[in-house]
């Protein structure tokens, strides 16, 4: 199972499937575009990681997934169950409608009764089967003495069916079997859309979690074994190879290396680590193998303590009520009171005609039709989140879109969010080709970000690495080798013997010649500029908050045109900053990826993190960017605003329609035909209004 965040077209599907099947050991491959993943059948010995690498190599970003995602099939089953109920309800609705039309067009007496009986025969079992989700949900709400949207829905369906049976038995003129069924059908459609959107989001979120494989190499007598991080105990010794994340908090026992702690602190440059230094879980070992003695594992690590901080900030945000819930809170009591009022009033007017009064009360319940209301929100969110998903954004929380629409201030983190977190070689043109090929030869074997940046830039120029012998990486210092009998070194200034420049740089020394410097800037993430410009165009204030040094932050802020920036911020400083903005009446969108951002992400009104972010950051974010680029951010803001407007329009449509329908029903003029027409018309209008989101630019 592979995750493919960037496939979106027919050519991509073909490219991925064909590409995969050319690989040895692959039996078949199938892309699912809706879920943006590929299912690959392979022989035993094929490494999924190799396939993901291969796909990334031919231009499709791909990640390996944990195939044991049992939850995914679980949600799948639920959505299919809903679809089944939907199909059955549709069948019943159409058949009963057919019979009802005959009644409306003038069937009378025995014929009408026959039609009503046939309708009852179809409708009752189908209502019992299809409307189950509403009944169970309403029942569980009632049991804890609460009202939700499903209570009036269930009541309307049950009363409509029950009263129709009564009327049929007494050869009554009006039966509402078709209304009971179409109510069920339209509402199930809304429910299904809602579920489908969430299932897609949930399965993708699970995939992200599955990306992180929490394993460690524990050193035991006579070798090492791979164990789950959860099984590590304090005092164990683990080995961390270059390029891997440190799984636990611990002290370095042996080895020297450099670690990248940008996730934890936002510092963009690696720091040196040797015996006796403390490392934290989440840092990335870069150059040399290290062994660590575990000081804290699992829940006690610094990483988890940070997560606890987040949990506190989260509870504050959970108080947000979505538009749908707000509408339901008003709607349910009003409708029930109206129906009850109608019943009482007609009982008094007619002097005790229970049958007529009940008839009218039911007509009120049916005609106020929660249909439009039940569809209003899911139809819009489905259309909008589908649109965002296509652009590579994943909405994790149901109300994220509404909250995103409120945003008027954006706070960015720097390292890993606005910037790639990886340096880019700046002065390639200043160096002689002879120097560059040597630098490339030295750099190509190292996992250090600066070395990789040099190798990347030099290869981009089409250079061929010089033939070096005795290449040796000195962890924490640099790389050295022999070239034409001369010693060549690439690394820290002190180590090669060069002046230290006041900026990010590495130094190359060839033989006795003076060292030359390679300088770097922090490369901006794709689309960072567009994102910032778009936010400004949308009328949002933009602030940059980073834990990095002032100079680096100022540079990035300048390049992106951000006037407001803060450097050297600690995690709680970031939270304070976000809270201060919130206190001044701003709705803050926080975009960040590091552990040092998580608390701020949770404190913000709504938050976004890139897929490359640490798991903790992604968990607290409402929206995850699946691709590399930040560019969809601007569009997300516009789409969410448009979507919220559509939701409100839909409520408007439903309200207008009710304003006309309720008096008619109250006066006792509503017929089953009128109810059917009104219900269908309002539902279709609401759906079409939502679909405008998909079509419009």
């Amino acid at each position: 199972m592979l995750s493919l965040p960037q496939v979106y077209c027919a050519a991509c599907i073909v490219g991925v499937e064909k590409g995969l099947t050319t690989q040895p050991g692959v039996r078949s491959a199938r892309v699912n575009l809706t879920l943006k993943r590929a299912t690959v059948e392979v022989d035993q010995d094929v490494e999924p990681e190799a396939l993901a690498d291969y796909l990334t190599g031919i231009g499709f970003e791909a990640y390996e997934l944990d195939a044991g995602a049992l939850m995914a099939t679980e949600t799948d089953k639920r959505s299919r169950e809903l679809l089944m109920r939907l199909g059955v309800a549709f069948f019943g609705m159409m058949n009963v409608m057919l019979l009802s039309v005959a009644v409306w067009s003038g069937a009378s007496d025995a014929t009408r009764d026959l039609f009503h009986w046939v309708s009852a025969g179809i409708a009752l079992p189908i209502v019992a089967f299809s409307a189950q989700p509403f009944f169970t949900s309403a029942w569980s709400a009632l049991r804890v003495k609460r009202l939700n949207m499903d209570v009036p829905i269930s009541l309307a369906i049950l009363l409509a069916a029950g009263m129709s049976v009564y009327e049929t038995m007494h050869s009554g003129e009006h039966a509402y079997f078709d209304a009971a069924l179409s109510l069920t059908f339209f509402l199930l459609a809304g429910r299904y859309l809602d579920h489908r959107t969430r299932a897609v989001a949930r399965s993708a979120a699970e995939e992200l979690a599955a990306l992180e494989v929490p394993r460690a190499h524990r050193i035991v007598e006579g070798g090492e074994e791979v164990v789950s991080v959860a099984d590590l105990a304090i005092g164990d010794v683990v080995r961390v190879t270059p390029g891997n994340r440190v799984p636990v908090d611990g002290m370095v026992e042996t080895g020297e290396s450099e670690v990248d702690r940008s996730f934890l602190t936002g510092e963009s440059l690696p720091i040196f680590a040797g015996p006796g230094d403390m490392l934290n879980a989440g840092e990335v070992n870069l150059t040399g193998p290290l062994t660590l003695r575990v000081a804290a594992a699992g829940k006690d690590t610094a990483l988890h303590r940070m997560a606890d901080l987040v949990a506190i900030a989260e509870t504050a945000r959970n108080k947000y009520t979505g538009l749908a819930d707000k509408a339901a809170a008003i709607y349910a009591p009003v409708v029930h009171l109206l129906a009850l009022g109608a019943f009482m009033a007609w009982l008094v007017i007619t002097g005790g005609d229970v049958r007529l009064a009940l008839n009218i009360a039911v007509a009120v319940l049916i005609i106020t039709c929660p249909c439009a209301l039940g569809l209003a929100v899911p139809a819009v969110t489905t259309a909008a989140s589908g649109r965002l998903f296509k652009k590579g954004m994943l909405l994790k929380s149901a109300t994220a879109m509404e909250r995103l629409a409120d945003v008027d201030h954006v706070v960015f983190d720097k390292t890993g969010t606005l910037t790639e977190g990886a340096p880019k070689l700046e002065n390639l043109g200043d160096h002689a080709e002879a120097d560059l090929v040597v630098a490339l030869g030295l750099a190509q074997g190292s996992a250090h970000p600066l070395a990789q940046a040099i190798a990347f830039a030099a290869r981009g120029e089409g250079l061929v690495p010089a033939a070096l012998t005795d290449v040796r990486e000195v962890p924490g210092h640099g790389i050295e080798a022999l070239w034409n009998g001369q010693q060549v070194r690439l690394g820290r200034a002190e180590w090669v013997g060069a002046h230290v420049l006041g900026r990010t740089a590495t130094y190359l020394k060839i033989g006795k010649r003076p060292a030359v410097a390679f300088t770097f800037t922090d490369a901006l993430r794709d689309g960072a500029k567009e994102a910032v410009t778009a936010q400004k165009a949308a009328g949002c204030g933009v602030t940059l908050i980073s834990g990095d040094a002032e100079e680096a932050v100022r540079d990035v802020a300048f390049r992106l045109g951000i006037d407001d920036f803060r450097a050297g911020m600690l995690p709680d400083g970031k939270v304070a900053e976000v809270e201060a903005l919130a206190a001044s009446g701003k709705r803050v969108l926080m975009v960040g990826d590091g552990l040092n951002d998580t608390a701020a992400l949770a404190a913000a009104h709504v938050s976004i993190s890139p897929a490359s972010a640490l798991e903790a950051a992604r968990v607290v974010s409402d929206i995850v960017l699946l691709g590399k680029s930040l560019a969809p951010l601007g569009d997300a803001l516009l789409t969410s605003r448009k979507a919220t407007r559509r939701i409100k329009e839909n409520f408007g449509i439903a309200a207008t329609y009710n304003a006309i329908a309720i008096p008619v029903a109250l006066l006792g003029f509503a017929t089953p035909l009128a109810a059917a027409l009104a219900m269908s018309a309002s539902s279709i209008m609401v759906t079409l209004n939502a679909l405008r989101l998909k079509v419009g630019k």
Binding site: I13, T34, F91, L98
Partner: protein, 53 residues
């Protein structure tokens, strides 16, 4: 009105037929990837049969 004796069962039978077809499309997983199916029509590669898994 005796014709109803045939017509009502007929209409219900036809409806059931539709329902059975719907259940079949669902069981053969034809709603799992609507976006992908919409795109696949553009490629020149054809599936011999719906995927089975």
């Amino acid at each position: 009105m005796n014709v109803l004796v045939f017509l009502i069962p007929t209409s219900i039978f036809l409806g059931l037929l539709g329902l059975v077809f719907f259940l079949w499309t669902m069981r053969s997983r034809q709603y799992d990837d609507p976006a992908g199916d919409a795109q696949r029509i553009l490629s020149g590669i054809y599936d011999d049969a719906p995927p089975e898994d």
